[in-house]
């Protein structure tokens, strides 16, 4: 069977075979293998729950694919909330005609990433829709994590705190864009898609006040939200922004601002100034945090105002993204 057919989602023999030969084969574990309507998992009094849906074109891109993205997105949402990611559910919506080998590739990638992140897939569902009713594969996940004593929330952010990021920015955005539009840059840009929970485990210490993963909308949007929630102002420095050479030149050519590009394997971490160096050193010691750096500081000032000090020393407002950046030069 080369392609997904409607019958794969009918609940009949084909569905059963798909589960057995693909899902269980790659994803199987004691919880999933219970094959109950609901998985029974060990619990806690307080858990963290997150849900996310993933649609991406193309399905496969340099540095990742939709499956890896689904696991990382969910794991990262839990991890930056201070939780230990434990369990994840997986709902697949497949378009009739999807190549079976593509699905298998995605499932394998899901298995690998889940293993790397140490999260267990405990439940799943598959629907097949008619050609044109979906774009190849949509994935919905729910993640469950155990709450830790890591107190991270925007409410703790104070003027003087340092803003750190665990690595270069904009890689995922440019990787997807160049793949989708067939743009060839000097060095191909890889998506940074990665589960961050292990990295966070290595650098977390009291004094880390807040963490966020700057996905859609990028660093700019995430910091705007944080600054608003915390009632503070923030100052970034353009010269400190970690940017790979190819993302930099891609942005220059296309007229894109890396601060607004999506990241799928980076955390913004706001820390008290007294622990900034230590946190940074620990980040840099981990393979996923090699390029971790300070990018700015929390300041007193108008609530929600995020400023960027440019290379020339002037400042400009880094606002929420409102549509695309239309030409303004008059």
């Amino acid at each position: 069977m080369e392609r997904i057919m409607l019958a794969h989602g009918s609940g009949g023999r084909l569905s059963h075979e798909l589960i057995l030969n693909l899902f269980q084969k790659h994803l199987g574990n004691p919880y999933l293998n219970q094959m109950n309507d609901a998985a029974q998992v060990p619990g806690r009094e307080q858990i963290a729950v997150t849900t996310d849906s993933f649609v991406v074109s193309p399905l496969f891109f340099r540095g990742g694919d939709i499956g890896k993205l689904a696991i990382c997105g969910t794991v990262n949402d839990l991890a930056v909330s201070g939780a230990i990611p434990k369990f994840i559910t997986l709902a697949l919506i497949l378009e009739e005609g999807l190549l079976m080998k593509d699905l298998e590739r995605i499932i394998k990638s899901i298995a690998e990433t889940a293993a790397e992140a140490g999260i267990v897939i405990v439940s799943g569902d598959t629907k097949v829709v008619e050609r044109g009713s979906a774009d190849k594969v949509f994935i919905n996940t729910t993640g469950i994590g155990y709450i830790t004593n890591r107190l991270v929330s925007p409410g703790q952010i104070r003027p003087g705190d340092e803003i750190l990021i665990t690595g270069t920015i904009g890689d995922h955005g440019i990787a997807i864009l160049s793949e989708r539009e067939g743009l060839e840059f000097q060095t191909p840009v890889l998506s940074d898609c990665a589960p961050l929970n292990k990295l966070i485990d290595t650098f977390y210490l009291p004094g880390v006040k807040c963490m966020r993963d700057p996905t859609r909308g990028g660093v700019a949007t995430t910091l705007n939200e944080l600054a608003q929630q915390a009632g503070v102002s923030m100052l970034l420095k353009e010269e400190l922004l970690p940017l790979s050479a190819s993302v930099g030149s891609a942005c220059e050519m296309l007229g894109l601002d890396p601060l607004y590009l999506a990241n799928e394997g980076k955390a913004l971490v706001i820390v008290g100034p007294e622990v900034a160096d230590e946190v940074l050193m620990k980040m840099q010691a981990h393979p996923l945090g090699q390029n971790a750096t300070r990018i700015g500081q929390v300041q007193e000032g108008k609530s929600g105002l995020v400023l960027l000090e440019t290379f020339l020393g002037g400042k400009r407002i880094v606002g929420m993204l409102e549509g695309e950046h239309l030409p303004r030069i008059c």
Binding site: L177, E181, G182, L183, E184, F185, Q186, E252, M253, L254, G255, L256, L307, T310, L312, G313, G314, K315, R316, I317, G319, E322, G323, H325, L326, P327, R328, I329, C330
Partner: protein, 782 residues
Amino acid sequence: MLILRIITVRLKAGHLTMKIQAKAIYFNGIVQGVGFRPFVFKLAEELGINGWVNNSSHGVTIHAEGNKLDLFYDRLLNEAPPLAQIVTARFVETEPKSYKTFEIVESEAEQDADVLISPDVATCRDCLKDMADPMSRYCAYPFTNCTNCGPRYSIIRDVPYDRVQTTMSEFPMCKSCAADYSNPRDRRFHAQPVACENCGPKLQLSDAFGHPLPGIGIDQLAQGGIIAVKGLGGFHLVCDARNTEAVRRLRERKGRGSKPFAVMARSVAKACNEVNISAKEEELLQCPAAPIVVLERKLGLAAPLPENIAPGIQTLGIIMPYTPVHHRLFEGPCDFLVMTSANLSGRPLIYTNEEAIEALQGIADYFLMHNRDIYHPCDDSVVKVIGHEIVFFRRARGYVPLPILMPQIQIKTPLLGVGGELKNTFCLARGQRAFVSQYIGDMEGYENLQRFHQELESFQRVVNIAPNAIAYDKHPNYQLTRFALEQPWPKYAVQHHHAHLVSVLGEWDRTEPTLGVICDGTGYGEDHCSWGFEFLYGNSSGYERRGHLEYLGLPGGDAGAKQPLRIAYSYLKTLFDSAEWEKTSSFWSALSIRERQILDRQLETGIQVFKTSSAGRLFDAVSALLGVCTKVTYEGQAAIELESLGAEFLRQESLEDSEYRRINKLLLYSYEVRAENGVLILGVRQLFEELVRDVLLGVSREEIAYRFHQTIAQAIVDIALQLGAGCGPLVLSGGVFQNKLLTEAVLGNCQAQGIKVLRSRSLPPGDGGLAFGQLLIANEVL
């Protein structure tokens, strides 16, 4: 209710006759702080008229009794002091009160004042004489001034204009100054900033670390030093303009790219050695506003001012000394001083001593500062004479806060127009007057945006208008769009080029629908494309878009706009068929293969390609094709250098009135005008094909640039005629009409066709005039 208070000497009783009459006379406009009352006083004395004159919050009021009242009134109107600007004058017959004297009386402040505040004024001849007179108390005093000159707007905190309301309140007058101040026969009578060595502000030279030095920096300038000089509206960076190395150092330290520096000349006579100066231009150089006048460099000079003052162009911005401090700087050997606004790239003009010392570390070698605060930072104004009329590039010191008067237009409710994103000015209006602020800067810079808020706050006080409605640009990403949306007032978003059109109409106090050609950089269009070469028909009530340049793709948006070669690549690749495209391969060597591949993909997929009908980008593209400017370091650079090249052709060939003019008609490039859905579209495929052919044939760049300008001028008038321009008026607006070569060609064509033209006259045609147009349009709608 006026409370009159006698403040000055009484005159002997005038000569009484039998048939005594009385008139109450009212003057409004700029009639305070300009020596108007002493003028009235002296004239009354001369004509034997009794009564009184006072300053009210509505201007000047006179009660006159005598038998030469008609003559008195006429002479008041005709002989008013040089800085006075009478806006309205009227009189009523009134009952004689049998006054025995003529007195100057003063009123207290009232609510709702509408007296106009004078702009800052260049030092007058009389004050210069005082400075040169060893017997004068004011000899060499670098802050001397009188009712005919000196600081005004820049030092005013609030109205009414009185010393206590200015930054001169720090300096109590000495006895001698107080005597001059209160003597109606003295030139300094009621000159609010009056001061002398004993009581007034002091000048101090220091090194880069703030250690005081003797002198005022004349030797340091002569030795190539760079001095930060505190002037009237802010700081300048100053160096010897003849010293190529000093100029280079200043350019490097300021990180200024190729943007031209202004040059202050010792005298018009000296300036004449470097640039061509027409009578009109000389008048501008020496007018009380003392703007920077952009002038054409003389050709073939043995030792001209260094090229690096204004790289790549054949013009120089010349300004005359306009404060006593400037005049004193010319006591040394330098005839020309670079005089450039002291601001860091993308940031507002520096105007406090503290900020200067901090921000100009590493840029200025010395500081020449004084202790009179500046309240309204104000850049030098920049003008150019185009088609025998003044065209503003930047309107600030010397012109602000003069109002635009609109007898035909009534502003319904106090309004604020916030202006555009670049070269911002804002506008406040009430009744039949609109006040446009000084040039503030580009709103993308946060510090400039803060300066906008600061000035908006203080300008309201000076012009006494508290707005309760707001007009702004339709562009969703302009910083001020966000500001406007946050205001609690009724608000209205105005299309950019509609505002450009109405700005000119408003300046001419016209309300009827009119056809206009708006040639501009980019503005947000109703169809979400970036407009910029538009034929609009309308007035403040609305408009129709009747024609425009065809849409072409601007790859990379604003980032792309800084790389004209990429624009040219995009335009030609889109317009040309493959055979024509083949021929252009030699043009793109400055773009890497990778860059070209990406551009190709962008043009195929449309990713980050913005559709634009911008005139500015068209000029940029041609500039790049001629290799004139392929990387932009200041706004408008590519087009400015292209213009300079075209103008060069005209000069070199001295073709002004020669045979070439006739032949030239045949050498225009072709273009196409096609109708699409009732809208005329200017197609430029043939223009580019023929232009590329010329480049490949080795036709001189100067000639190509010239022909291009002539072609666009032709197309503008051609399309205007097809749209029924008739005998006009035709409005020309938008920043591209700061291009002298283009504008004069359009004016020539219009004249030949009998089309009357309307251009902006007291505001810039570019975005500096936008706020006024926005406001007039909102006034119709709100």
